[in-house]
């Protein structure tokens, strides 16, 4: 029976170590994709949080704050729920944060009431997430939030007939709905509404269909990675760009790290997004400088870094408001309606939806000093989560 007692001893040792010496420390469990195809975004969570902690220290109102990271991997609600439960029960975290994918955030939501723990969503962009629990607050964006201004920008740019081509899954359909409703509401006409399978690599036939529809502008959304590059290249190589058909998308299609891969042919592509690394503001400059100081590459900064940075601000505010005690209602009350200037611009937390209201910028891909950037050319102020407004 030696083996069994050894096993028990190991188990006890582990649980003691898990408890740790930080009896007073406030723990924040961050669930994000640390490995796999989306690892860059999870690492950006860490970059943003580290930047905030470097600037504001790791103590709030006398309490030490500790961030614990867990790997979300790929969308897997059972796995994420298990991670959340482990963080809540074993590590006894006071706050949960992160959640890159929607199904994962949905799986965590039911736990929050019983655990009396707030969740700061730092990416998952489906509007209905914040309605799943009163303890959820989100600092990222939603598809509707970015798609509605895109439609307005399209109208302002003089587009009359738009072809919509989106990837056929949740966020794509949200983008399609948001754009279509707004554009048609402003008097424009959507001549084509294409939902492309996620596995599509050859966009030639799609371009053909768009051409046949006679559209003067294309609105698109695809998940960043091989699909976006393929789409943009097909747009250029099939002569649509040369024919004067403009391309507008949400910023997910032209993330800053991918611009180099798209190359000079991408100059002129319009996108609407809540954050660009090229955003010209003192807060953004300080933010990027801090990230560079921490050793991360500025060329790898994505929107999740800024969402995490602002999320850390919210967490600090919540800790301060509750003086480190577990009181989710008080915590949420403290951040509802909160306003500040983020590296992305002025933002606030909508007290009704608990989602971040922010400026959405119309950007154009331009060559600035030999580097391709998303240059902001127009601002749509204080955009709420249109997806929740309409419902």
């Amino acid at each position: 029976m030696n083996g069994l007692s050894r096993l028990l001893l190991a188990g006890i040792a582990f649980s003691i170590m898990g408890g740790a010496a930080f009896a007073d420390a406030i723990k924040v469990g961050v669930i994000g994709p640390m490995s796999g195809p989306f690892a860059l975004y999870g690492q950006n969570f860490k970059m943003g949080i580290d930047a905030w902690v470097a600037e504001h220290g790791s103590k709030v109102a006398g309490h030490d704050v500790e961030f614990i990271y867990r790997d979300e991997g790929t969308p897997n609600p059972a796995h994420s729920k298990a991670l959340a439960q482990e963080l809540l029960v074993k590590d006894k975290v006071d706050y949960l944060a992160g959640a890159y994918f929607t199904p994962d955030a949905m799986a965590i939501a039911p736990l929050l009431a019983e655990a009396k723990t707030p969740l700061v969503v730092m990416n998952a962009a489906t509007s209905s997430i914040t309605t799943k629990s009163p303890y959820i607050v989100r600092t990222s964006f939603t598809m509707w939030q970015n798609a509605v201004p895109a439609a307005k920008a399209a109208k302002a740019a003089g587009a009359k007939k738009v072809a919509i081509a989106v990837s056929d899954y949740g966020p794509g359909i949200d983008a399609l709905d948001g754009f279509k409703k707004t554009f048609e509401g402003e008097g424009g006409s959507v001549v084509e509404s294409i939902r492309m399978p996620l596995s599509t690599t050859d966009f030639g036939p799609i371009m053909q269909r768009i051409k046949d529809s006679g559209a003067d502008m294309i609105f698109t959304f695809l998940p960043s990675g091989p699909p976006t590059l393929g789409f943009v290249k097909a747009y250029i190589d099939n002569g649509l760009k040369a024919q004067g058909v403009k391309l507008i998308s949400t910023g997910d299609v032209v993330p800053d790290p991918d611009l180099a891969a798209i190359g000079d042919a991408g100059v002129g592509i319009l996108s609407t997004y809540h954050y660009s690394v090229a955003h010209d503001s003192p807060e953004n400059k300080a933010f990027l400088a801090q990230i560079a100081k921490d050793g991360a590459k500025v060329g790898e900064v994505t929107m999740t870094a800024v969402a995490a940075y602002d999320g850390a601000r919210l967490i600090y505010k919540m800790i301060e408001a509750t003086d480190g005690k577990r009181d989710p209602d008080k915590a949420l009350a403290a951040v509802k309606g909160m306003q500040w200037t983020s590296p992305r611009g002025p933002v606030s937390i909508d007290p009704e939806t608990r989602h971040i209201t922010q400026n959405v910028y119309l950007r154009k891909v331009e060559n600035v000093d030999g580097k391709l950037v998303n240059k902001e050319i127009e601002t749509y102020k204080d955009q709420p989560d249109w997806g929740l407004e309409k419902h």
Partner: protein
């Protein structure tokens, strides 16, 4: 005797011995899990759902020799079925398990009809095509599956009306342990049945099996039905215990992952499947936290090592050890 004699180390022969041993062993494992890892019950619950899928794969791959990369379809469809049933108002967890198993059986039969027809590359391609077809449907049929956002809002009623599905995860854990124990016991009896033995004959040499008059195709479909029931139980469990069903439950990655687990433990042996599933997932739980990129490379190396050095998986090692122990006794 209608069942082949169970192999027992001490030469004992107890009626229903193998079945009771299965129940006892899983129960014991369940207790160990509860005592040693009381804060990790959510992870262990998920582990058990996947283990059921691995067992179902063992039935068709290990016992029938079907090379398939589309097994997750049986699991995922059952999960969605149970999820929808729960949302529609059927909240008794046991009834949901039954719904899952039925859905699994139907999907299994469909799967068997397609995949059982061929061998070799055709079989593999069909299995992948079937799996991907189901995944594509799951993505499209948003009212039933929630698409890529997942099917959420699954709130089962307390077990026996008393045990709640709470944060600590004790109820889902014991429900899962109980389901696994019963399934293992049932399978322990099943794999010693004449039907199962004929399937093994087909796996070993299907030409010869045909020559002694065994109808191959119907048997494969029947085995797929049983496999579907097991996978369905796992799928229903994941829906009930997680509250959300995502597209990952029908994904190609899931199918490939369980094949790896099966091979690690040893295909063709129930205990091999169980061992492989548990060891792989526990190992993954502790390793991925430290070394993300290398994990896939590690799994690849492991697969290569198993194929080259230990084709029977870990179970073969256990068998060799046992044989050596028995020889020492003799």
């Amino acid at each position: 005797m209608s069942l082949a004699p169970a192999r027992f180390p001490m030469g004992l022969s107890i009626p229903l011995g193998a079945e009771l041993a299965a129940l006892a062993a899983v129960g014991l494992l369940g207790v160990v899990g509860y005592v040693v890892f009381p804060d990790d019950l959510a992870f262990l619950t998920r582990l058990i759902s996947i283990t059921l899928l691995v067992l179902s794969l063992d039935l068709v791959t290990g016992y029938c020799g079907v090379a398939t990369l589309g097994q997750a379809a049986l699991f995922g469809v059952a999960a969605y079925a149970a999820g929808n049933a729960c949302i529609a108002g059927l909240t008794n967890p046991f009834l949901l398990l039954i719904v899952g198993m039925l859905a699994g059986v139907v999907t299994g039969i469909l799967s068997g009809l397609l995949i059982g027809r061929f061998r070799g590359l055709q079989q593999l391609v069909l299995s992948i095509a079937f799996g991907e077809l189901v995944a594509a449907l799951a993505n499209k049929l948003t009212p039933w599956t929630g698409g890529s956002d997942g099917l959420s809002g699954i709130t089962p009623a307390p077990v026996f009306g008393v045990f709640d599905f709470d944060l600590y995860g004790r109820t889902p854990y014991w429900l899962s342990v109980g389901t696994l124990a019963i399934v293992m016991a049932a399978l322990a009896a099943f794999v010693r049945s004449p039907f199962s033995l004929t399937c093994e004959a087909i796996r070993d040499d299907d030409l010869r099996a045909r020559m002694i008059g065994l109808a191959v195709y119907p048997r494969l479909i029947a085995m797929y039905a049983v496999s579907g029931a097991v996978a369905g139980a796992g799928g229903a469990l994941t829906a009930i215990t997680t509250g959300v069903v995502g597209l990952d439950s029908v994904s190609f990655e899931r199918s490939a992952e369980v094949l790896v687990m099966l091979v690690l433990g040893g295909a063709g042996r129930l205990w091999g499947a169980l061992m492989g599933a548990i060891l792989f997932q526990v190992f993954e739980h502790y390793v991925t936290t430290s070394n993300p990129y290398s994990w896939l490379a590690l799994v690849g190396l492991m697969l290569i090592a198993i194929v080259v050095f230990a084709p029977g998986g870990l179970m073969r090692g256990v068998d060799l050890a046992r044989r050596r122990w028995m020889r020492r006794r003799a």
